[in-house]
Symmetry: C2
Subunit: 647 residues, 2 copies
């Protein structure tokens, strides 16, 4: 009864929300309920243990979407049919279903028999986490350690794949002690791993290490409280200068669509920038979102080796989205958007305030010049920078990922990833850094705690459509030349090279000779004849260093390069493959790219990986200060002139 009332409330809330339609609107609660109803009243209802693992819009074809958008959004007859893609499990099988929401029917259905599993549902994770507390063996073990089991929290971790020929759905639980702290992750109970079989929802094995297991570290100093040094941001009178109609945002010279799903979290679609010189909206980004994350920990010991997470595919960034807190997560002038998804039971769930949107007055200077060359005058002109930020936060267990899309009036889109939250730590009996031997896999960062070395690779799917679908990828390299007949001996020049195929576009950055990476539209030129384009300005480069034949690396082989460009294919969205849980590397970006398709003057997709190598330090305890990295997509010969100026 409770659930019915909840659905009713959500449905009513939604119906009374004035929203402008867009063909890429995420599934709304009504639609999620409709999907649930269609499936639970079909033959599928009889499947044992029916669970919903993925419920998302089945995207209409790009052509249909663009056609509808270009027809002034008015012609209801051309609004693309709403369809959904659903992945369920039941009877030990994974089924992919396409539903037609217009006539309420199942359009197609088949059993997936390949490697890997769909994302774990929250229900499964919660049920697994509660299992130890019904286990006498567990209770006995912890009480022998002098721990009170009512103060223990166990968290489920995905188990990866290490060459097994047959896999089962499983998680490993690690447990933490929360007596005298709210910083659960700072109190790891070492030497205790609980293997859970998800299908049977039973503990398979409790693995304990013997003597020499370090005891629980002290709770003192683990709580985090703000220093209180920061004033609240100044009280400001804000005239918000953007509009939000449903999922459509309009701000200054930008318009775009903000979607949300359980897997990617926030999705930016159909972003166009207004060109006041041409007096037209021009297309930049068809669709952009986080595609996958890879977080391998650098500890090969028996308790830690498996921690090599593909968070987006195994858990979901939308599933991990938090309700944003005003004045902590977003400033006072922010507007908020809720997120909806299906639970493991197929029913709609709401994440209130999953996304915030705000104007950022950076205090920076967008452009300026002081001219002293006019006799008797000093002329200073310029403009302050104001950006529009679209933000979500995904908290995946201990780590908090701050995900920003920043739109600039210059036509740039900046994408930033901020890492904060709590480290994964390992207790140690050592108390001084010089007692630590190398094989402990990370530095001593707090009393009796090692911060385990690890990486974060956040891979973005960037379906740029610069002035249309047909684009090319250009590498602009610097070439040093000998100067002839000059007092100078040398200079550099730019040599541009169009990548012919996917192989040509797979890049490991870090050399000084690559100047620019560009996506250009070879069919559109500026009035001066330059190829219209956008540049990828990369951040600090980091690629995965693990050996190519190591199992986690096989699953995330795309992390050996920061940049990939692929031919557009609607089904190629998830860099480590769709079935990431226990995947074996048979699907994903590196596999698709093996076809080495032509990418010249084609609809192409850019993939960029933001990477961090993180060897922790004491400042990361008990909670980490935000570490930020990212990239920028910047117009280069896209406009006839600086778009920040009046024409």
């Amino acid at each position: 009864m409770d659930i019915l009332i909840k659905i009713l409330v959500i449905t009513l809330q939604f119906l009374f929300t004035k929203s402008q339609h867009h063909p890429l609107d995420p599934l709304n609660p009504n639609e999620i309920s409709q999907i649930h109803q269609i499936i639970t009243t079909s033959h599928l209802a009889s499947l044992p243990n029916l669970t919903f693992h993925f419920v998302d819009l089945e995207e209409p074809d790009k052509k249909q979407v663009l056609h509808w958008l270009s027809s002034n959004n008015q012609n209801h007859s051309t609004f693309p049919y709403r369809q959904a893609k659903v992945v369920i499990r039941g009877g030990g099988e994974t089924r992919e279903i396409i539903l037609d929401l217009t006539n309420g029917s199942i359009k197609s259905e088949h059993v997936y028999t390949g490697d890997g599993y769909p994302p774990l549902t929250l229900t499964e994770l919660l049920r697994a986490a509660r299992l130890p507390f019904k286990s006498l063996q567990f209770k006995d073990l912890v009480s022998r350690r002098g721990l009170n089991s009512s103060e223990i929290t166990c968290f489920p971790f995905t188990v990866g794949w290490f060459g097994e020929s047959i896999t089962r759905r499983a998680v490993k639980l690690s447990c933490f002690y929360r007596e005298r702290t709210t910083n659960v992750f700072s109190m790891p109970i070492e030497g205790l791993t609980i293997l859970v079989d998800i299908e049977s929802m039973q503990i398979t094995k409790i693995i304990t290490s013997g003597r020499g297991t370090p005891p629980l570290p002290e709770a003192e100093g683990t709580d985090f409280q703000s220093s209180g040094r920061t004033n609240p941001s100044p009280h400001c009178e804000i005239n918000r200068s953007f509009t939000m109609n449903g999922h459509n945002i309009n701000w200054k010279n930008w318009r775009f669509h903000v979607g949300f799903n359980a897997r990617a979290g926030m999705i930016i679609s159909t972003a166009s920038v207004f060109d006041s010189g041409r007096n037209e909206w021009r297309r930049v980004l068809y669709r952009g979102h986080v595609s996958e994350t890879f977080v391998p920990y650098m500890d090969p010991s028996s308790e830690w080796y498996y921690k090599t997470f593909l968070d987006v595919g195994e858990f979901g960034f939308g599933r991990s989205a938090v309700t944003l807190v005003g004045l902590t997560d977003c400033p006072g002038n922010a507007a908020y958007m809720d997120g909806y998804m299906a639970g493991g039971d197929g029913m709609p769930q709401k994440v209130p305030r999953a996304i915030c949107i705000f104007e950022q007055y950076t205090g920076d200077i967008a452009w300026r010049h002081t001219e002293v060359g006019i006799p008797g005058k000093v002329v200073t002109s310029g403009e302050q920078e104001v950006c529009l930020v679209v933000r979500m936060v995904a908290t995946v267990g201990n780590y908090d990922y701050i995900l920003d899309w920043v739109f600039k009036q210059s036509g740039s889109i900046k994408v930033r990833v901020g890492l904060t939250g709590v480290l994964e730590m390992k207790p140690t009996t050592e108390t001084k850094a010089n007692q630590i031997k190398e094989q402990i896999y990370g530095p001593l960062i707090a009393k009796n705690r090692i911060g385990i070395n690890h990486d974060h690779f956040i891979t973005y799917y960037l379906d740029l459509d610069i002035d249309g679908e047909h684009n090319s990828f250009v590498k602009a390299n610097l070439k040093v030349k000998k100067a002839k007949g000059s007092p100078r001996k040398s200079y550099w020049t730019v040599v541009k090279e169009s990548a012919k195929t996917e192989d040509d576009a797979r890049l490991r950055l870090g050399t000084n000779k690559v100047l620019d990476l560009l996506l250009v539209n070879p069919n559109r030129k500026t009035n001066l004849g330059n190829d219209v384009g956008y540049q990828l300005m990369t951040g600090q480069p980091a690629v995965s260093l693990m050996m190519d034949d190591d199992y986690p690396q096989i699953r995330a082989s795309y992390t050996k390069y920061q940049v990939w460009v692929t031919a557009y294919n609607k089904s190629e969205r998830w860099a480590a493959g769709f079935y990431a849980d226990r995947s074996t590397g048979k699907d994903g970006l590196a596999i698709w790219s093996k076809r080495n398709r032509s990418i010249v003057n084609k609809d192409i997709v850019l993939w960029y990986t933001v990477g961090f190598h993180h060897s922790p330090c004491q400042e990361d305890f008990p909670v980490m200060g935000t570490l930020t990295n990212g990239f920028e997509l910047r117009p280069v010969n896209f406009f006839e002139r600086n778009p920040l100026l009046k024409n």
Copy 2:
């Protein structure tokens, strides 16, 4: 008489400014006047054409400064003697003079006979720029081109050095047409270079190119006006939370000193951060500032080859500092500091509002975490980021350099360089990009205009004193290891290596294997036994690509590496040598480093070069949007725990 009144006004202004003393306070107008008086009443007064090229505080020894600061700033008997270093020219010679301002005497004096010259004075530059308008040949030439000489502005450019065995002080003038535009630099008059001998202040030669010289481009579309799209920043009630006593700034957990001189511009000194855990102020940075810039243009043709500027040494960033404009250059909550320096005549000159200081409410998240592991609760904690920005802008002709020092409560210092202003352009008869041949040295970026390819290398002098003078430089490298006895095959670990000598610390960045560059104090450990340190987080790497034996590269040979560490030596401040004008590479960072001094547990200086390779695009016209790069100095095991939290 006018000058006397001006001095009086400045002196009175200064006297009535309540200011706390600091041994590194820049020379105040009284002191500058005193220096002028001492010299003009000494035997030096009789030198023909006496001009003042450099007038700066002769820094007291670090020991004296630190002693006075540690004695609670109260003991006047230990306040270091105020001394000044002055470089004058007269009778064709360069003289270095040390003055004692306490007893008003000349302490030492000698004639400099090495290569290169001191910075050009503004008076010299202005006089040189006016010479053409007294030249009949010039007037005749421009009128034959149909140009009105009263609409022409000529700018002086330094001439560099190209292997000449004897050099004279000289500039080359390039001229621009300002009829119908305020964007002077957008209207270059090509094929006309005027060589001026500075000592005789006469035109030596007017060099014209013959037929085929491209005509003046059109003025249409060259003016820059704001789009007006940006709202003024929101009206805020600000409670400023920093104090400014003279040059001393106190803000939250930071205190530091902001100085100014004609050469470096803004100088940050004696920056300490409060450690609430230890309840003490801890030293981080003794002195930091821009040391030199190198801006070579990539056009070896006869009219352009010499454009290879060392702006700081040839002109001075303080000399080029502009008066900051509220709501364009700095937000509404900024406080301002004036800058003082000596003119070519030795008299004090004021740059009103040369520096601004403001709190930046970025909208970013300093740290956060959402904890779901406590039954029945979702706990979100966190804090907004608030920084303190110290900013100046140096406009060196066409380019505007925005120079920010950003202090964070995390203990980080971020240093940013923003490039904006107007490109150096070359007229062309071509109107379409595909007509441009490679040898034109840059792309077509506006009608009949080539934007010449060029670099910017901004080199910072960073005398970090982490918890004291004796520091070491540590490279933390990533090393991939084979895992044994594990389902995993590999992992990375961190191998730290202390640089023994200056050679070991000279680095060209860009490889994926360098994790961290650290300055540590090997004499101070955290309670856990980690070396106390700060990390250099670098930005996009760029080093100079010109051939090693090319003359401009010989002068700026240090730009082949981003990172240098040298043994501290008070006299080693200017990366391309003190006498940068027409320098021949016999002084500077690369030369000092040849001694390959030990840098282990020594007072050491870190040098970092922020680099840009700039191949322009249409968006850079008629004024460039700001392009930003920089670096961060971040505490790593400096604090016992995250300093953003309460203890």
